[in-house]
Amino acid sequence: MKVFEKTKMLTDAHMHYCPGCTHGIVHRLVAESIEELGLQEKCIGIAPVGCAVFAYDYFNCDMQEAAHGRAPAVATGIKRCHPDSTVFVYQGDGDLASIGMAETVHAAARGENITIIFINNSIYGMTGGQMAPTTLIGQKATTCQSGRDPKVNGYPIRVCELLATLDAPYYIERVSTHDVKHVLAAKKAIKKALKFQSEGRGYTFIEVLVSCPTNWHMRPVEALRFMGEECTKTFPLGVYRDKSEGKE
């Protein structure tokens, strides 16, 4: 008996991500969650600009490819016109927390009934490793080659904490993909968010820490360790809002 096989919510296309990049894991978690909740028949996904730009080739449902940072606005347009559909947004840190911060904050403040999957790998991957709004202090990038210096580059942005200052969001959680245990926890959070959306509860936001072995200049396994040991210090995992549990 098969105890693990690829979900039908992903297409047969081979993913283009670099070896060991955990974007692919998150794609699978989102896709499996949609399938397990039975939401696949009326589901629209929004792909970002960045490493996940080709996500429209991978999710086996209707997809719109948005301009850089605008995915929450695109999702708002779709969801308001099709309130019975499931709308998920998949964005990286440059897309969501830099160029698209206005769209991010306002979709959250309006309490749009959508699910945002925020991939935080603390780097601009697609463009070749530039500093991101989430680059760690001291972490090297091609535009801060001696490491991020707060005096010059400022500090990383903690998006979950920031959005948790707003009244509207229903569920906000930060999870990670650095080992099996955390991937399982990430799946649980993503599924919960999509379930809340299907129940019409409102805005749900899952930040997922992801590795970038290529631009961190690490071997894939080493990158997982770095994520678990370093990234989680700047970006503590946990639930930042869960109105179903009375956590405001």
């Binding site: 105890v3 693990f4 070896p19 894991i25 099996v180 991937v183 071997r219 396994v221």
Partner: protein, 68 residues
Amino acid sequence: MAKITIDEKVCKGCGLCADACPKKVISLSEHRMNQSGYFVAEAVNPQNCIGCTFCAIMCPDCAITVEK
């Protein structure tokens, strides 16, 4: 008996599966390359597999199917 099947066409040889396996079932090949030029993951100790799915959970490319 538990068994894993690795889709070698999709495998990128990242080794996350081997790292996650508690029974050292998987190892990256030192000789065999797929069409994309990656040294693929192989089940070198298939008899040890317990079907825990950890390898599949960590595989970023959905390359692994697990049977039990």
